[in-house]
Symmetry: C2
Subunit: 451 residues, 2 copies
């Protein structure tokens, strides 16, 4: 296994800082314990620290001398007594080599090592404490510039990161496919989520990238449904599964929606096909130098056309688009940057502002697509009672909606289809591999339910 | 489903306070978000708050008027906008009834409701903030007395708690049994832990009660081994699985150790039988009015006898016991209280002190066993190089150990067998149901591996 590219990631951050001298100093996360208890939360490394160091354990720190390009790792010291309980850790030199640093010391030497560098400025992250720094260095701390510099470095994935994200997607896609094969009507949503988590952990993921959603029937109309505790009531319903595993600290974020029975009902099929068309249109359009917010508009237009065909919308397409009518059916953005964080950093650089209109106001990124950016593409259509009541009450929007038709499709609940892609020089690379066409899904479900 | 016994649990805590007036005021936990990210940690309710309220969601609070026995719930207010994302929550009255409170209000009414009670003293937990309390009430806060009163209430489980713990144990025991049936050599430890987690979540548990241990071969000699990322190398080795699910906020904590092949090797069998004998002896002795630390001594004596028979120990039994020689092979306590927390509260009441000798210094409880106390019974024997080096260097201990024999058994790694019990009027009720006899385990493994 090649070493973690710590020096390369520090160098990218330093280049974004535009500084030719000074030191970067970052701290890793610490274990968090439940209040009045010795039970620990699952450890999740500070994302910026992981990016720079590749260290997934608690209690580390790292520094980078910008002028010389020297990367320095500070390793948590494990006492002999502690080693009896947690095992003998790797030696300093092993850590140094496996993570691609120039030097490795123990964390209790942070003060001395940084003092010896005599940096004119110490770039730190806003949420990191200056403990252990000498008074002179503490006075030289700059907490403003490093965060955007690291964020911008994280936006552009290098080849090794893309391969890790591909692996996270492969493990999670395989688990989605297995669910399509294993799940039966009357099972509980908890069974769906539990099996998913079990499979991604067994496949080598560290944890769920986010609170999984396993929403049967109308529960899919609750956008952040995480109760996951109701039985799958009817073969005429669908289940929406939004779940991804984190592999080597990189998230995957995948949604599939499929029938609990062997086939989609006509209403479910019609809505599903529109959502899939939205996704395929956006995927075909993803390429360098296009604007991410235009992808949201493209998905909205395809949705408007589809909902017009079904008669759920009425009137002229331009009026529907001008009044953001689709936002009442897709109240979230078309997707977001993804990487170490599920909702990854860098979506709104240089003071970019959100557009305050239905649906698009939740768009988590507004910038030009460029090679090596990773996005989710996740169109959806939902029948949310409260949102549709708002639409009915809005005289600019209500005339475009046939509420009798809405009532006929309400049982569909919601549909979302979500893949993870990386922008390439010529278009995109889709990391997500589980089936999504109606034909494939029905073949898998009907074969599974025949057994 | 009957209501949560919130009033009963508040009354138990109030009785332990010995107060006839004043109010108890407790806060529930809040969601914790990763630094510089919107990813949330899995929510875990504050254990004392859960005990009193039965509320497993973030953002709640509760109060109890001691003189009148009035229990008051403060419910998190969910706005209409928020409800679109997380669903429409139950009404105040639904919360009140399902949790057995006399009144329910929203959390923004904490100040007004507590002021109206005009309590002479407000009993709070040390780690809870006094925000929202009027200056008068803030001056009346007592942070010293409530914590031990709630802890002592939590030590004695009522029937409903015991049934929940039985269910946690049943789900987790079933998962342990399934692992014995499903796991094959060459699989990775991650597969073992992943399948376990998947099964307990699918069975209705909320999360792992603690960081699971799936330790193959020599990894079982690392007492808190949680890396869980090595392949199961050889059929001649065992795997130690220490894992339990949390059901309705109550933990289970179960360990089984079994061969990767169809049968134990002679060395593994010999050590396993001693550990099982230790556990059976302690279980037979568990009854009201006996001292928990005597159970540790009993297990040590059975271990000493067994290790003498194998020739790993030598010399006289009394000398072995007087010099705590077994502590070098079982460097942890015989067990701990269990309940909402895995290592539950109340183990050292009234200033009880730890005994600073090998093994027993880690005993997490020193008190008289009484009905309705729940304990783990978890003897183990391990061959930890660093600890055995300490033994060799100690002239009081080394003469009792045959280090050539130790070398012959080193490959065993470690064995632990752990059940969860509740003390009854006449003895104990074992909540753990998965097999542990050598005959049962070999029958399961050999049948599984024939498939």
């Amino acid at each position: 296994m090649s070493a973690y590219p710590a020096k390369h990631h520090f160098a990218k951050a330093a280049a974004n800082l535009g500084a030719s001298a000074g030191a970067i100093f970052v701290r890793g996360g610490e274990t968090i314990v439940h209040p009045d208890s010795d039970t620990e939360y699952d450890f999740h490394q500070d994302s910026n620290f992981y990016y720079l160091s590749g260290i997934a354990e608690p209690g580390f720190a790292a520094a980078y001398d910008i002028a010389t390009g020297t990367a320095i790792l500070f390793v948590r010291h494990v006492s002999a007594d502690e080693a009896v309980w947690i095992g003998v850790p790797p030696a300093l030199e092993d850590y140094r080599r496996s993570h691609g640093f120039d030097e490795a010391h123990y964390v209790h030497d942070v003060g001395a090592v940084l003092d010896a560098l005599k940096p004119t400025v110490v770039y730190m992250l806003p949420h990191h404490a200056a403990d252990q720094l000498s008074t002179a260095l503490e006075l030289a701390v700059d907490r403003a510039q490093l965060l955007p510099a690291v964020h911008e470095a994280r936006v552009f994935k290098d080849d090794a990161e893309i391969e890790i994200m591909r692996k996270a997607n492969r493990i999670s896609s395989d688990a989605h496919l297995e669910l399509m094969k294993q799940i039966r009507g009357k099972m509980n949503e908890a069974e769906v989520r539990g099996r998913f988590v079990g499979m991604v952990l067994a496949g080598g993921c560290s944890y769920e990238a986010y609170g999984s959603i396993a929403a049967g029937g109308r529960n899919a109309a609750v956008l952040h449904y995480t109760a996951n505790n109701q039985p799958l009531a009817s073969d005429d319903e669908m289940i929406l599964v939004d779940a991804g595993g984190t592999y080597q600290c990189y998230a995957s974020d995948i949604t599939r929606t499929w029938p609990i029975g062997p086939a989609f009902t006509p209403e479910c099929r019609a809505i599903y096909q529109i959502v899939l068309d939205m996704q395929l249109a956006v995927l075909a359009a993803c390429a360098p130098h296009r604007q991410w917010e235009d992808m949201h508009q493209l998905a909205s237009r395809v949705a408007a056309e589809g909902l017009l065909r079904l008669g759920i919308l009425k009137g002229d397409l331009d009026g529907i688009m001008a009044n953001y009518v689709v936002g009442y059916f897709m109240p979230h953005g078309i997707g977001h940057l993804i990487g170490i964080d599920t909702h990854d950093v860098g979506g709104y650089p240089q003071g970019g502002e959100r557009i305050n209109r239905p649906g698009v106001r939740y768009l988590r990124a507004r910038r030009e697509m460029l090679p090596r950016m990773a996005f989710t593409v996740e169109p959806g259509l939902y029948f949310v009672d409260a949102i549709l009541a708002d639409a009915k009450a809005d005289p600019a929007v209500a005339p475009f909606i046939d509420f009798d038709k809405v009532a006929a499709y309400r049982k569909v609940g919601g549909v979302r289809v979500e893949d993870n892609i990386v922008i390439t020089e010529s278009g995109h690379d889709n990391l997500t591999t589980c089936p999504k066409s109606i034909a494939d899904i029905e073949a898998i479900r009907s074969a599974a339910l025949r057994v």
